[in-house]
């Protein structure tokens, strides 16, 4: 692509480096990098927890870890993967890409953005501190009442979990509001809503889901914390409460949360497939409307997590039908992705392999989901390994494969260098095989009657062989991920230069240098189509955005968001650690917020 001419116009920019520049940064690209690296570290930690789980289950009556530790591991594995890995990895893409894709210089609230990241980091550290302060949470990531009550969980694990999720919720909410405002208000001239890349659309839908879903879990967690700290009875049956209230609140949050995890990956795949098929996305409006419809319907299906609760035939039928209805837009998306590739010229680079892997594996996860949409069938499947297989096909085969597609696809844009494609393909094939070896047998071991969340199983139930192979698969996943880490680090240091547009992408981010300058676009581009770089006229217009005219005003760095976030995390963690942490935290938070509010922006 003839982008060198445009590159020449970009002025030399010396990026400040050093720890202080990262602590005070308000640049969305740097915050995206912080999110990505932090979240990937937690992805490795969550994966390590999964390995310990699988080693414990390699044979019946194993004593590799104690039941107590096992229960902490499966609770923290899910909590880590959902809140500390997949969500912030998505946030990393939101941060890095949204301003670039909509032709903006930064997000709407750059300092709020920094605040979100630091709150996330401190919340993530806090929840993991439980391992060294008397035991991690051990009640499952769903924390069903009344096992979480003081009577049945007297330790501090549940407190760490509940307070930690509250801290993380602040980060998610602040980020979601930021992206909604950014997407609605900062689009380049001419970029109407229906000209936004699908990834931007999915970010918008996800952000709306977050601002509507997190208040629900916030309320539930406040009830739980009140029960545990000041003796209220929101979930205490002996005082007349109905512990089912927790399940309704949790899943009213929890099901939209599933879409919060998967929609960004769907957005990524919708960007990768057209680029490597050399063909525009098939049925763009249908894919967008399907995503919105999934987001809406996500609110009407929560009780399909509760078919075994005994809600009665009418409720079971309603939630069965609403759940099946969601299969339609999901299927439509898959057909449109296939149609995008049909008639294309497929370049099977690593990002494309991961995108195609996403389609197949997510379809498998969707189909097993369709099986337990039927309540009678679900009553044989729920709380067994069949559901463990299902969620891992959706979240590992879906969300994680999609995220890897995105990591390979945008790595050149983030770093200015190319990743090693051959190592990438080795990573893909090893991960694909290992992933199926790990999770496919779980369908069967579940249908054969193995419950989930058990630290051991009877030797005479026929579960032994399939558990053995699942563990082997998990042990093979580890080197697959390590190959990626190696590839990432070595390519970042010494990969070949990428140029502005190594893949021939259609969207705005490929018009500017890699890595982009701190101000992204020298002048804000004008957009006249869905694939601006693929049309001759609009391409010229967009490439002209690399010219700088006059002074570009960018927000200055600030350490107040960092201090405000640290103070808020300390204040909330004071519920567990005591007033001597909480009160200084409160003061630090107020100091940070006050100075943030009155800090001059020049």
């Amino acid at each position: 692509m003839a982008t060198t001419a445009a590159t020449l116009h970009a002025p030399a920019h010396a990026e400040p480096s050093g720890l202080w520049s990262w602590i005070t940064t308000v640049d969305h690209k740097r915050i995206g990098a912080l999110y990505g690296i932090t979240a990937f570290c937690f992805f490795l930690i969550g994966g390590f927890e999964a390995l310990l789980i699988r080693i414990q289950l390699i044979r019946p009556d194993n004593t590799f870890v104690s039941p107590d530790v096992y229960n902490q591991l499966f609770t923290m594995h899910a909590t880590t993967m959902i809140f500390l890995a997949v969500m912030p990895l998505s946030a990393s893409f939101f941060n890095f890409l949204i301003p670039l894709m909509i032709g903006a210089r930064d997000v709407a609230f750059p300092r709020l953005n920094a605040f979100s990241y630091w709150v996330f980091l401190f919340g993530a550290i806090f929840i993991n501190l439980s391992f060294v302060f008397g035991g991690a949470p051990d009640v499952g990531w769903f924390g069903y009442a009344n096992l979480t009550s003081k009577q049945f969980s007297p330790g501090h694990g549940v407190d760490f979990w509940a307070v930690g999720l509250q801290i993380l919720g602040v980060a998610s909410l602040a980020a979601a509001f930021n992206f909604i405002v950014t997407i609605l208000n900062l689009r380049a001239p001419g970029m109407r809503l229906m000209r936004m890349p699908v990834f931007v659309w999915m970010t918008l839908v996800t952000s709306f889901l977050i601002i509507l879903a997190f208040p629900v879990i916030t309320v539930a967690l406040i009830f739980l914390l009140f029960d545990r700290f000041i003796g209220t009875h929101f979930f205490i049956p002996s005082a007349g409460a109905d512990p089912l209230l927790w399940q309704h609140l949790f899943w009213l949050f929890g099901h939209p949360e599933v879409y919060i995890l998967i929609l960004p990956a769907m957005g990524i795949v919708s960007e990768v497939l057209p680029t490597f098929s050399r063909k525009p996305l098939f049925g763009y409006p249908v894919i967008v409307y399907s995503g919105i419809f999934i987001g809406f319907m996500g609110w009407g299906v929560w009780s399909h997590h509760m078919f075994s609760v005994g809600l009665g035939p009418l409720a079971d039928s309603f939630f069965a039908l609403s759940t099946m209805l969601i299969a339609i837009p999901t299927g439509v998306k898959i057909f449109n992705w296939l149609a995008t590739m049909w008639g294309g010229r497929l370049e099977l680079k690593t990002p494309m392999l991961f995108a195609i892997g996403f389609i197949i594996l997510f379809t498998m996860g969707g189909l097993s989901g369709f099986m337990h949409a039927s309540p009678p069938a679900d009553l044989q499947q729920t709380d067994t390994y069949f559901v463990v297989a299902h969620i891992h096909y959706v979240l590992f085969g879906g969300a994680i494969m999609g995220i890897f597609a995105g990591l390979y696809y945008w790595f050149p844009k983030m770093t200015g260098r190319m990743m090693n494609d051959r190592l990438g393909k080795v990573h893909f094939w090893l991960q694909l095989v290992a992933m199926n070896l790990t999770f496919f047998p779980m369908h069967f071991v579940g249908l054969l009657g193995m419950p989930r969340r058990v630290y051991t199983y009877g030797a005479n139930l026929g579960f032994n062989e399939m558990n053995f192979w699942s563990t082997i698969g998990a042990l093979l996943l580890a080197p697959a991920i390590l190959i990626f880490v190696y590839n990432w680090i070595t390519s970042w240091r010494s990969g070949p230069p990428a140029g502005n547009d190594p893949w021939g992408g259609a969207t705005l981010e490929w018009a500017i240098p890699s890595p982009p300058p701190s101000y992204n676009f020298g002048t804000i581009p004008e957009v006249h189509s869905l694939d601006p770089l693929w049309h001759k006229d609009s391409r010229e217009l967009v490439l002209a955005s690399n010219h700088v005219h006059g002074h570009i005003h960018m927000p200055p760095n600030s350490y107040w968001p960092f201090l405000g976030a640290l103070g808020m995390a300390m204040m909330m963690s004071g519920m567990v650690f005591g007033w001597f942490v909480g009160i200084p935290g409160l003061l630090l938070m107020l100091l940070g917020f006050y100075n943030w509010a009155f800090e001059p922006c020049h």
Partner: protein, 328 residues
């Protein structure tokens, strides 16, 4: 998903019950069979849809892979007819599945048939209590029912959430504090079937297992008659007699009921513990050796067990084992 189809008949074959005793794929009651019908229909559609997607992907990969000289693709943005078609096709399939689903929901959640045998299944951390209110029988971990007669089960809990599940008999149902849940089924085959708690309920959730004995009606009647008799007091000079004395004089009585001896309700009713095939929430066969190991250190065998290590001497354990095994 063709491997699924290939494997399912093998799993549903006649060796299933022997090789996979806790399987859901070998139904032994009307309820479980109704679910199996739905499952088979689903597996059919899953296989059809997945084969289509996989085949389409493979064809695309072969046909449209970039080769030197392959032409620049036509920029097609969509096709309304196709969009309508692949919206309607899943809708039709879903309707075909939804109709029998709703019918099965209403059929399996109706009121239990008249003449059902009433059983209360009560979850405890970490064992199941079975109470037959119409028969005046209480037992633990091992549930007995007659073949061919509808069984109506009330599912309750004494502490936290549990879930009651004998896969051969059908779907699971949660035990929820403050709720009484219901299910009914008619077993159609005699035999013993394992089950276990399937809602995470704390540290020893994995150790909360149980067994269902489906017996011929006359055998079931005989079992009931045996359970209704009070236990004989063993000869005071025998080893069992020493165990009886020890039982009545120690902490055992605070938690366990033995009809005519003690009235504790925290742990399982032991009136006929010697007649059961499993102990300790179903994790061990009821043999003198395992009972001995259990009594020596219950929390060591079942983490979190409410039954403490009573610090019994080896002689005391032997006496108690002799007594408990005598409680047929």
């Amino acid at each position: 998903m063709w491997p699924v189809l290939a494997v399912l008949p093998a799993l549903a074959g006649c060796n299933t019950a022997r090789d996979f005793p806790q399987t859901t794929l070998d139904p032994k009651s009307d309820y479980a069979r109704a679910i199996q019908v739905l499952l088979e229909q689903q597996v059919f559609w899953v296989a059809v849809i997945f084969s289509f997607v996989l085949l389409a992907t493979l064809v695309i990969l072969v046909k449209f892979r970039a080769r030197p000289g392959s032409p620049e693709p036509k920029p097609i943005h969509g096709h309304t007819g196709l969009e309508i078609a692949w919206t309607i096709a899943p809708a039709v399939i879903l309707t075909l599945v939804a109709v029998p689903t709703v019918a099965t929901i209403y059929k399996t959640q109706a009121a239990p048939p008249a003449g059902s045998l009433h059983v209360r299944a009560i979850g405890h951390q970490w064992w199941w209590e079975f109470n037959y209110p119409d028969l005046g029988v209480t037992t633990g971990s091992e549930m007995h029912v007659p073949v061919g007669r509808p069984i109506a089960i009330d599912i309750e809990t004494a502490d936290v959430l549990h879930s009651f599940w004998f896969p051969a008999m059908g779907g699971k149902r949660d035990a929820i504090p403050g709720h009484v849940n219901h299910m009914f089924f008619t077993a159609d085959t005699t035999g013993t079937f394992p089950g276990q708690c399937v809602e995470f309920c704390g540290i020893s959730h994995a150790n909360m297992r149980m067994k269902l004995v489906v017996a011929k009606p006359n055998e079931f009647e005989a079992w009931v008659a045996g359970q209704k008799q009070g236990p004989a007091i063993p000869d005071s000079t025998s080893l069992a007699g020493a165990g009886h004395r020890l039982f009545t004089q120690s902490a055992c009585v605070a938690c366990h009921t033995i009809q005519g001896v003690s009235a504790g309700v925290i742990g399982p009713n032991l009136t006929h513990v010697g007649s059961r095939s499993i102990i300790a929430g179903g994790i061990y066969d009821n043999t003198p050796e395992m009972l001995e190991k259990w009594l020596e250190n219950p929390p060591g065998r079942k983490p979190g067990s409410l039954m403490p290590n009573l610090g019994l001497t080896h002689d005391q354990v032997t006496q108690l084992v002799a007594y408990l095994t005598s409680l047929k």
